[in-house]
Assembly symmetry: C2
Homo-oligomer: 186 residues x 2
């Protein structure tokens, strides 16, 4: 890819992150980003159709690191039990811990919804593959249960980051399974 494109993309994303530490998502204008990144107006719109698209791109970046199986040797999974899922969850919390500061900015305003929406997409598959197949045939409708498992994980994550990640990734992970496993095996 052209170095110029790469440079401006980095400039824009970095500017956006910097602005997020000072302002709320909805208060950040395209002009703000342009000024902070030292990038021309038309240039921005050639890369991203809207401010929202930029945020989606940033979320995709974050998640691609979090849910990238090939780089993590411990993440070979055989789909046979929830252990793999536990590893993935801890792994996720570790990554989120690293991106803590950036995430606090994103989750502290309306941009939260975009992040949650995108995260839900990733977790949907995971939860279905790893958990639901194991704990089949419960007294709840399938999609209700899957939805509960996903949203519980997401909301716990939000709670954790909002509280400045005081607990360790392992601890938070244990909390999560402490919340849902009794339900699953009731």
């Amino acid at each position: 890819m052209d170095r110029r494109q790469l440079k401006t993309q980095q400039a824009i994303r970095q500017a956006f992150s910097a602005l997020m530490k000072r302002k709320t998502y909805s208060k950040i204008t395209v002009q703000d980003i342009l000024d902070e990144a030292n990038v021309g107006r038309s240039t921005f719109y050639e890369h991203y159709k809207t401010k929202e698209e930029l945020l989606h791109a940033i979320c995709a970046d974050i998640f691609s690191h979090v849910f990238c199986p090939s780089l993590e040797p411990e993440m070979r999974h055989d789909f046979s039990n929830t252990n793999d899922f536990k590893h993935i969850v801890i792994h996720m919390f570790y990554h989120f811990y690293e991106d803590k500061e950036e995430l606090k900015g994103i989750l502290g305003s309306e941009s939260k919804e975009i992040f949650v929406h995108d995260l839900r997409g990733f977790l949907g598959e995971l939860v279905y593959d790893y958990v639901f197949k194991v704990y089949k045939n419960k007294s709840f409708p399938e999609d209700l249960l899957v939805n509960h498992l996903i949203t519980s994980l997401i909301e716990l994550t939000l709670w954790w980051i909002k509280g400045d990640c005081k607990e360790s990734p392992e601890q938070i992970s244990e909390y999560y399974f402490g919340l849902i496993l009794p339900t699953l095996s009731a």
Copy 2:
């Protein structure tokens, strides 16, 4: 109150509800509301500072019906067990069922966040008073647990309404306690 004020408030709210069936919250402009309600621009701004304030007012209306204890004889509570809480939850689902159509509009777009935020406020007290006091001293931080109970209830509600309220209020209520009670008494 002046009949004129009442009339315009009703016109505005009704117009807003009507628009919600056709458009997404963020796509509805003040001008749209003005046209639909046949109300002058300055009049609107004398009643509501922003579009968001209007939505808050509508939410407050809905919740005032849902969480109005004096009108419901079965809702005398003694704070001694979770039975009262169960009644309240069923009662809530009944009211939401009645407002089904309006709620589907609100929950189908960004306005969802405002609704959820306001609902969270009401449920926060309830959950704390009714549930937490009973199931004290668990292996989770207090605010984590309370948060989990609230968000599970909210998300279940969203799931239910999104799916067009196919289950009965009693059934949904049972699902809720099926999801959380095993955790609480684990």
